[in-house]
Subunit: 229 residues, 2 copies
């Protein structure tokens, strides 16, 4: 199932993730009843949170860190479905199995919420039911956008990716990427070399600057948006 390697830092509760009582959470930003029935857990960098086809017993909310979901094709290629950062909910499935696997990209603190509890709640409280729908609906929009990215040229995909990442952090043109080039490539359906070359092109374009490999400054958003349309 999931042998969890606890992160080095702070509050390492030794509760197994697979089968344990639901603890109370004191989530710092409790903007939803859903979060009242979760327990925060720490996942070290590159730790599996759940695997594809495992029963979807829990859903998850990122408190800090970053998570990727992915599938591996028969030829070994990996397709990343999404990146989740602070505030994002993932692992909520309509069916009873996880459609993707999930891993932490960096050390992450994640609120783990028992699915059955939420579903149970939603039967009584249709505020909760509505939020389940909202979460699923937002995810649907995200995936639809992802599809539109995947049918474009390499430049357009990378531009779209950068804008997407930039949109997630409070107004600034500097984006700190938590993921590797390989992750980006697998998200965009490109190779690592193509991603790298495309970033270099955009830099030569004066569209971006890349002060360090994980740090990208958007110098000309208009140009990126033009590519993105």
């Amino acid at each position: 199932m999931l042998t969890q390697t606890m992160s080095t830092s702070g509050s390492s509760r030794s509760m197994g993730h697979g089968a344990r009582a639901v603890a109370l959470a004191r989530a710092q930003d409790t903007d939803s009843p859903i979060e009242m029935i979760g327990a925060p857990m720490l996942f070290a960098r590159n730790t599996e949170i759940y695997g594809e086809n495992e029963p979807a017993e829990y859903l998850y909310k990122v408190i800090s860190g970053t998570v990727r979901t992915y599938k591996v094709l028969n030829d070994g290629r990996r397709q990343i479905g999404a990146f989740y950062i602070s505030g994002d909910v993932f692992g909520l499935e309509f069916g009873d199995k996880h459609a993707f696997s999930a891993e932490s990209i960096a050390d992450s603190k994640i609120l783990v919420i028992k699915r059955s509890a939420v579903i149970g709640l939603s039967k009584r409280d249709n505020e909760v039911a509505r939020e389940l729908w909202a979460l699923t609906g937002r995810e649907l929009q995200r995936v639809q956008d992802h599809i539109m990215l995947l049918v474009k040229t390499a430049q357009e995909r990378v531009a779209g990716f950068l804008l997407e990442m930039a949109a997630r952090v409070p107004a600034s043109n500097a984006v700190e990427l938590p993921m590797s080039r390989q992750d980006i490539a697998d998200y965009l359906g490109l190779t690592i070399e193509t991603v790298s070359r495309t970033l270099t092109q955009l830099e030569n374009n004066a569209t971006i600057t890349v002060p360090s490999s994980r740090r990208i400054v958007l110098r000309n958003r208009a140009a990126l948006s033009r590519l993105n349309a």
Copy 2:
């Protein structure tokens, strides 16, 4: 908005689709309360049902015929998001605008359901709320599967498409495709030529036979599934 060309056949009510009272429906397969508040309408082949970014006032259930949803990129390329056949619900958005445009592919009879009515219902009846979630959840799964198709080789995409179509009609190896090669190409992110060539390859493979261009017989599902994985 939507100047509807009524189909030639039977019950041509002359209600504008844009702004009119909600009529009662006698849907033949009423398996859900949602369908109680819709009106059946006829759309001739290649008629727009709604446009991208229009307010999502209605949702739709296909009674007969086929529908495609799509977006057009700035360079004119068209990406098809989905095909909907008898029994499928489309046009249900979480936001208040349609993310894609929708058109009938063949003459189609479609149940048109007022969104506000359904949302209203869902506030009282959480059976309805649950169904809204279910519909959105299934759509999410479909789009996730579509993503996995789009990152594969041409052969794999076409194989996946054929299996997907075959899965929609009661057990038979003969698939009647309601859509053109161009539609298939735009769904799979390929050109019409590549789709055609790939079908020819599969035929030479003895994986399929193509008795007529719109009719495909799956002769070796195992081979298709192997490509699909």
